[in-house]
Subunit: 327 residues, 2 copies
């Protein structure tokens, strides 16, 4: 019975109904089991949009950049979807620091759909939900979808990389401790952006990045694509067009070579594993509740050890949950 | 055969042999299956040390504080273990910014054992490995063990909370974007520390925290314990003794009430779930390799959807891996 209204929902989404759109994204975010047939159908119909994964450490000016990108894309006549997975994301307040009016303009534009998602929730569920949201926007006819994540934490970085073009934003003057978190983030970039290039110390960040690329410290398995470093100033409205041109060039290069196809396979594999992990852990968490309290007590008193107790929990839960799969 | 040298290893660890200690921690970190009998035995013998979980956002001065704590504890004659899970941790370099000489002193002191661990690796494996390392130090006779994690990411925060006393470090003047990440971190504190209290803007941070505690914004299910806010300046050597006194008071309160026992049960439950998740996902990752490529391809071409493909992957893998558990 739940399947039929879900399919109606899909038709409404294809017609661009923002209410239907928001509703299915909410269901995906909540991990509602009844929404899965609709999300499966969405996946099969998706695949036309260009997905830009955009990440960077806190304070790098990601959200302001995303707004500027959306503005320029709108001027070019494109519909733009934004999915932000960022605990410090300012979208929910409807305003960006120092950019309050323009953000409101964007929020009132029916050609822009902005959605903030929480990082918390079920283990691994964030990646699954975010990529479902991207597909929903894709089916709704948004031509460019920006998937913004904070570049802290393995999951967040991986999600930004599960895109057609990955943009990594660095900012000048963030200090050593913050920069150190970036290890692992810089390597996923198809395009590097240095934000806040109106500042005097931006030149050093630009030079550092270019040097790392020249020295091969950041080379990945790329062919036919020289990773550019683009200087941007949202404040002075500089570099936004150059960034979008670079995204377009990357898109064209991917289409021309086998790189695009390989990338889609890699993203599909990531998605398969993340979804499987989520479904497995969800069911495990539910099924193990019956056995956990007793095993926890035996652990707290140290008569049992974590490995033996965990093995017992797994065996008991699998036997209970997957007996039919094995019949 | 691997079991017997492992038990010798445990005897050497109990005698305080730092080489044996480091070796078993490395095995725990690598997730070596052969090390599990030894780690199980370690768990059963552990439980005497007082474990301080210490966390805070990057730039809050955690590592400097940990060094100061270790120094004072050493002056009191205690052996101190430090397990740091922090990508920006400076321990590996053997020096703390502006505190180079003292850090070297600590590193050369046989009564201090410092270990930095990576956050990356198998899903959920970090928590398991870190808590194993704490137990190893416990069995080796370290009376106080400081488990330092960066307060970014759910896993890191949860691990810091899997301790006897949780200390959350805040620093003045870190900016809004950084502070926002702290949501979810502040609530786990048994003791709040405001670091860098030689700075003029520290007073505001102190006042903010105290106000949040008074207004009940941060109250958890605590009884018999009023969460203190302690001002610390590592630079001026102020507040370190007060913090250690507060830790001692918290320890005594826990011992006097049922709170300590409840907490040990909660930590055991966390540990059971983390270990089970790790073992389950490890085996799943290994077992699913045979089926993933074909399912990924069907996903990349959108003839299959992530939910159906994931279910197929789970069924096939469980049938292969756990057939004997279900016989």
């Amino acid at each position: 019975m739940a399947y039929i209204p879900s399919l109606n929902l899909i038709e409404q989404i294809e017609q661009g109904n923002p209410w239907a759109l928001g509703r299915l994204i909410s269901r995906a975010e909540a991990g509602v089991e009844e929404a899965r047939p609709a999300l499966a159908e969405i996946y099969r119909r998706a695949g036309r949009a260009h997905v830009i994964g955009l990440t960077g450490v806190p304070g790098s000016g990601k959200s302001t950049l995303v707004c500027k990108l959306a503005q320029v894309l709108r001027e070019r006549g494109e519909k733009v979807g934004i999915v932000a997975i960022d605990p410090s994301s300012p979208y929910s307040g409807g305003a960006i620091l120092g950019d309050r009016i323009r953000m409101t303009e964007l929020a009132n534009d029916p050609g822009v759909f902005i959605r903030s998602m929480a990082t918390h929730g079920a283990t691994g569920g964030m990646a699954r939900a975010a990529l479902d949201a991207v597909d929903i926007l894709d089916v709704a006819g948004y031509q460019t979808i920006i998937l913004e994540t904070v570049g802290v934490g393995q999951d967040e970085v991986e999600v930004a990389h599960a895109s057609d073009t990955t943009v990594v934003v660095s900012a000048p003057g963030l200090g050593d401790e913050i920069q150190a978190i970036k290890a692992g983030v810089l390597e996923i970039a198809d395009i590097h952006v240095v934000s806040k290039c109106d500042r005097d110390d931006a030149l050093r960040t630009l030079t550092d990045l270019k040097q790392m690329l020249t020295l091969g410290t950041l080379t990945g398995p790329r062919r036919d694509w020289a990773i550019p470093v683009i200087a941007v100033s949202a404040y002075k409205d500089e570099g936004i067009e150059a960034l979008l041109d670079s995204v377009a060039l990357h898109k064209a290069t991917q289409a021309r070579t086998t790189a695009g196809q390989e990338r889609r396979c890699r993203v599909a594999e990531f998605r398969l594993h993340k979804t499987a992990q989520t479904l497995l852990l969800e069911r495990f968490a539910k099924g193990s509740q019956a056995f956990a309290p007793q095993l926890s007590t035996s652990l707290a008193t140290r008569v049992n050890d974590p490995y033996a107790a965990a093995q017992q929990l797994i065996s008991l839960t699998i036997r209970k949950e997957y007996r039919n799969d094995l019949a």
